[in-house]
Subunit: 348 residues, 2 copies
Amino acid sequence: MSTQRSYTSDLDLLKGKVEMVHGSGGKAMAQLIDQLFLQAFSNPYLDQLNDQASFNLPPGKVVMATDSHVISPLFFPGGDIGALSVHGTVNDVAMSGAVPKHLSAGFILEEGFPLADLKRIVDSMAAAAEEAGVSIVTGDTKVVERGKGDGCFINTTGIGVVPDGIELGGDRVKPGDKIIVSGSLGDHGVAIMSLRENLTFETTIESDSQSLHDLVATMVEAVPELHCLRDPTRGGISATLNEIAQQAGAGMQIYEEAILVKPQVKAACEFLGLDPLFVANEGKLVAFCPADKAEHLVEVMRSHPKGAEAAIIGEVTEDSLNFVQMQTAFGGNRMVDWINGEQLPRIC
Amino acid sequence: MSTQRSYTSDLDLLKGKVEMVHGSGGKAMAQLIDQLFLQAFSNPYLDQLNDQASFNLPPGKVVMATDSHVISPLFFPGGDIGALSVHGTVNDVAMSGAVPKHLSAGFILEEGFPLADLKRIVDSMAAAAEEAGVSIVTGDTKVVERGKGDGCFINTTGIGVVPDGIELGGDRVKPGDKIIVSGSLGDHGVAIMSLRENLTFETTIESDSQSLHDLVATMVEAVPELHCLRDPTRGGISATLNEIAQQAGAGMQIYEEAILVKPQVKAACEFLGLDPLFVANEGKLVAFCPADKAEHLVEVMRSHPKGAEAAIIGEVTEDSLNFVQMQTAFGGNRMVDWINGEQLPRIC
């Protein structure tokens, strides 16, 4: 830490609250930055205390992704808004095949938010960033009056660099491609909804919130011919498949029996009236892969802890209407349309 | 626009409102993206509709800056949150000497926010981005329930590339450097406060909100030996000078008579009990320049419309206590300390 600034008293991280003055650009804001953010995130870029970070990047295509996080509640089984805000953006960067490098963090805090909660969130972000191999290089803090926010919103924006020879995108997906999912579906959304609805099950349903940078690195190294990766967050795998079908100008056929949903997630979905295909995930990916490489890719994914339950769940079809269809466990075929109504608000 | 997605009816941009479903990852969100954001921001990176943008950057040091904008009210004389969110981040990137290249945009919308207002904001962002020569390459939209936000918050994160041979930073500032300001101080903060307090003057006080990328490019080309640039936003020039004094391990001496404050801004400040040195600016910069290049730099700045009123306002001094002092119009010297209390909440 390069900072030498001195304050008359330390920030009260036990009982203190966020005040309007913490966003006003004066000494109180500087203290919040020094004693909370810099303590947790310290790295050579951030510690320069300029209004921007500067760094060199390895040669290659640069990738940029942004996500504002407004999840409610802020703390949940398997994670919190801090870790989630790192995982979400790291994953968006990684889905291009890129190695995530740096994150920015923008906080919008509500007056009265406990500093102890903020510290917990910030420490969780720092740990998630370290695990994902990214530095939080620049940041910003704003404070809004009580009733004009909801505790803590966090925007993270990430940049990364794509290794030579990798080119992924929805428009590269072709009829015949196999659709592979890295694990069970619906965990994150159901964990949050169960918490909101005060549902208890024999075992607590945990969010799958995690960074997939290392799984992706393993996959693109093994099968650089991969066509597309996408993380099925808001809107679940249904939104992802419909989006890609339209980008690719193709259809999708998936098989219900091939899709892994944990028994307690299935039970909670039935209770809550949710369809696991529409429920957000925060630590899973969908891969679109040329058919002749698909088995090998699944094998490679299964050798990685974050892809241990990877499976082929269907294939891309010729379909000018870009329909996504699912063969059900009973043998019928049903449309998997986009959700039209609100299913899960503030899930990330 | 590459999108071919079809909807049963168009978004009602006259009377429609933001609904929770616009943030849920389904069809309504896709429609908002297609018919509002893509229409305004269209560029080859964004139009790929991936969850991240990818692009090549020219060689050189990469710079990243982030800002969340929570200004209230959203529309004000001389600008709005849309243009401001571009200017703020473009300026943070430019203050490193970099050429700003790309922006991300993250929206946090409150349920019930008029789509017509959102369109006005988005169109204003698009125009500001075009003027600044940047593309909005990736984005994100979240919606929170009524009473959990305040209409519209916007995070922008920008990246740019520093031309060869330029290296700016607070730690490069040296005793003897001249302190140069690009124009009048206090316009933005006073415009917002006058609006909030319903003050009217003979002439409307307008925000100075503008991108300084072109002024900066002119400056670093003419005087690459420049030590540091900073835009005096929240906390005003007082916060900027105190921050840099601490980064440089030096003091600052400024001269009240050299500092330009417009008469109506001065009058409003007296009425509102504000000190123009503590009031936010959104289109001005402070430069720290070796003394032997300072006159030339001021001349160069004055040749540019955004620096027409540039002036030397003081110099960096040897001072281990890092005090910022101002010689007043009456000849005395007073401390220019950081603000400790809240002066202007939600000014950007």
